[in-house]
């Protein structure tokens, strides 16, 4: 009997909605989008968790702050509470230690992490998903079967990023996964129409265009994230949170899960 799978699914069943923030390639700002979305939803009074599922490129602890560490209690590992969000991921557990893990270990690690983390009941779990279509996203899709979930695809207009994103969208569609929409990040840096083309080709809405904000570096290194960012950035995140909350796909995936 697969105990970790059973327990991971059981803990996930206490979560109302799961938003998976994905990207084709790394470096497009997925973690910033995931963390910002989580903080914004939490600021609206929702109970929100943030899972950094990236075993190698975990960055959420840099965005939310490293103070505090997960503690083990009777119900499992407690996520750390920062900016109203309950966060968990290897960054909060391992700090700067590298995690050289082969594929199978990544899958079981993610499963065990979900089985061991005591989120409790949540309105939203935002999952910062590693780029691409590898072990982690496959494991997450398998564990979330039957649960209300939606995918956000973060991309930049870079010609290098767009084809990879196309493949990710194809994969998600093939798996029958619900896509909330595209998020164009770092708008203004690239001049191609890549995102529009993706949007047309796959009939996917562009939920929001987030401007490149040179103040992000300072905001993160000063530990004040998401403060210190531009008004455009904040209002983009606010619009994204509106889109996520009002996605009509939640009704569909909820019906399927009953």
């Amino acid at each position: 009997m697969e105990l970790m799978t059973f327990e991971a699914r059981r803990k996930l069943s206490l979560i109302n909605r799961v938003v998976l923030v994905t990207a084709g390639k790394g470096g497009v700002g997925k973690s910033v989008v995931a963390a910002s979305l989580a903080i914004e939803l939490a600021s609206r009074g929702m109970s929100v968790g943030l899972l950094d599922a990236d075993v190698h490129g975990f960055a959420s602890h840099l965005l939310l702050g490293r103070e505090g560490a997960p503690v083990a209690g009777k119900r499992g590992l407690s996520p750390i509470s920062r900016r109203g969000v309950r966060a968990m991921g290897l960054g909060f557990l391992m700090g700067d230690l590298p995690a050289p893990l082969r594929g199978g270990y990544k899958s079981s690690l993610l499963e065990s992490l979900l089985a061991m983390t005591d989120w409790g009941p949540l309105d939203y779990l935002i999952v910062d998903t590693p780029p691409g279509t590898g072990d982690e996203i496959l494991t997450l899709i398998s564990l979330l079967r039957g649960r209300p979930r939606g995918f956000i695809v973060v991309a930049t207009s870079s010609a290098l990023s767009v084809p990879v994103v196309g493949r990710l969208i194809e994969f998600l569609r093939r798996e029958g996964e619900g896509l909330i929409g595209l998020v164009e990040n770092m708008t203004g840096l690239f001049t191609s129409r890549g995102i529009e083309e993706l949007s047309e080709r796959y009939s996917l809405r562009v939920l929001v265009r987030i401007p490149f904000d040179p103040r992000l570096e300072e905001s993160v290194t000063s530990g004040k994230f998401p403060e210190g960012l531009s008004e455009e950035f904040s209002s983009s995140i606010s619009r994204l949170a509106n889109e996520v909350s009002s996605w009509e796909g939640w009704e569909v995936v909820s019906r399927r899960s009953r």
Partner: protein, 142 residues
């Protein structure tokens, strides 16, 4: 020592199985845990028994078996046991119990937290002793 939360998972899983099969109770339960998890088998059994009170699992014979860790280095081929290596890395504070190695909570991190004692590589394969499973359940219908 995080026996309690694991025991809870075990009990829930077995109760689900009992319900699924329409059984009236379980009379025997065997749980095998990997040495990497650093569990106390007596505490584990005690936690399971306590959590079973008032349920169809109450009174079942509970056996907890430790599976020794066998680790293999993919880089040099060396095979070794847990006692041959130091566990590096962070410790997690356990309420009321002091600090516990992260490896015990997430044994899949073994390649990240252990090193081959012969060549120092992280490219390790855990052949056994890295997980927990319910190995045997005896159900009764009456």
């Amino acid at each position: 020592m995080h026996e309690w939360s694991l025991a809870e998972a075990v009990v829930r899983a077995v109760l689900a199985l009992i319900e699924q099969r329409g059984a009236s109770r379980a009379s025997e339960l065997e749980v095998v845990y990997g040495e990497l998890m650093g569990l106390d088998p007596d505490l584990m059994a005690e936690a399971i028994r306590e959590l079973s009170v008032g349920s169809p699992l109450e009174g079942a014979e509970v056996k907890i078996v430790e599976e020794p860790a066998r680790i293999r280095c993919r880089s040099c081929g060396s095979e070794f046991s847990l006692s041959s290596v130091d566990i590096d890395g962070p410790k997690i504070l356990e309420e009321g119990h002091g600090r516990e190695n992260l490896l015990h909570f997430l044994p899949d991190l073994a390649p990240a937290l252990l090193r081959c004692p012969r060549c120092g590589s992280s490219d390790l394969e855990v052949d056994s002793g890295g997980s927990l499973r319910i190995s045997r359940v005896v159900l009764e219908w009456s």
